[in-house]
């Protein structure tokens, strides 16, 4: 600092602003370690909600039965066709596919990759997610191609008085 005055220009790598910042912007070892410890805290805190919801499900609160919901009439839905509906909540997209006279399958159709809606493609006999070409087996809901790794959650279906009802979302077999 002291011998700068009589040398012009003195050796300083910035001529445009002569405020000496004393390296205050520099990420030193200590600051870096503090950041890392802080990141661990953020990870810890943000995993709490997941655990809380998991605990809630474990205690059986998530097991609650939804009211049966009518999806369609049997004669409205030709064999090989699909209808979309909402189950169990008003924002949970689901799809019902009639495979044969008496065989129906229904899934929550948010793709298990990144939640795009999955469509039933009749001529290919497959459920296809347009986003990244994920494919699902229509009989079981399990992924057959593309990025998804987890089966679509299946919805239990009941046929009563020539109408089709959604009963509940099946759990995965552990």
């Amino acid at each position: 600092m002291s011998n700068k005055n009589n040398k012009i220009p003195f050796s300083e790598d910035n001529y445009t602003h002569n405020i000496n910042r004393l390296n205050e912007r520099k990420l030193d070892r200590r600051g870096f370690m503090k950041t890392l410890a802080g990141a661990a805290g953020v990870f810890a805190i943000s995993s709490i909600p997941w655990g809380a919801v998991a605990a809630k499900e474990l205690m059986g609160l998530g097991e609650k039965e939804y009211p049966h919901k009518k999806i369609a009439d049997v004669d409205e839905l030709p064999i090989g066709d699909a209808v979309e509906f909402k189950f169990p909540g008003a924002h949970d997209d689901a799809i019902l596919i009639r495979l044969s006279e008496n065989k129906y399958v229904a899934y929550q159709n948010a793709c298990t990759h990144l939640r795009c809606p999955v469509y039933w493609v009749k001529d290919q006999g497959e459920m296809i997610c347009p986003c990244h070409h994920g494919k699902f087996d229509v009989e079981t809901g399990s992924p057959t191609a593309g990025p998804p790794r987890r089966p679509l959650p299946e919805i239990e279906i009941k046929v009563k008085d020539s109408a089709i009802y959604a009963v509940k979302v099946k759990r995965y077999e552990a």
């Binding site: 070892r29 503090k34 661990a40 709490i48 998991a54 298990t112």
Partner: protein, 63 residues
Amino acid sequence: MKRSYIGIVILCFILFLNIIFTQSMVHQFFYENYVNTLIFMGLNLLLFPTAVIAYKKTIDVLE
């Protein structure tokens, strides 16, 4: 008076574990293995005090 970098190595490793545990936790959650979800959450929670201790113990270590 050179500082040791052992703390940074340990903390980076903790961050690495954090990432792994978080991803496993989310996957286990969607697979509905809720016990495993809770285990991974516990591990993630434990890593935070570990990180703080690692920080305190290594911040002044000299080589």
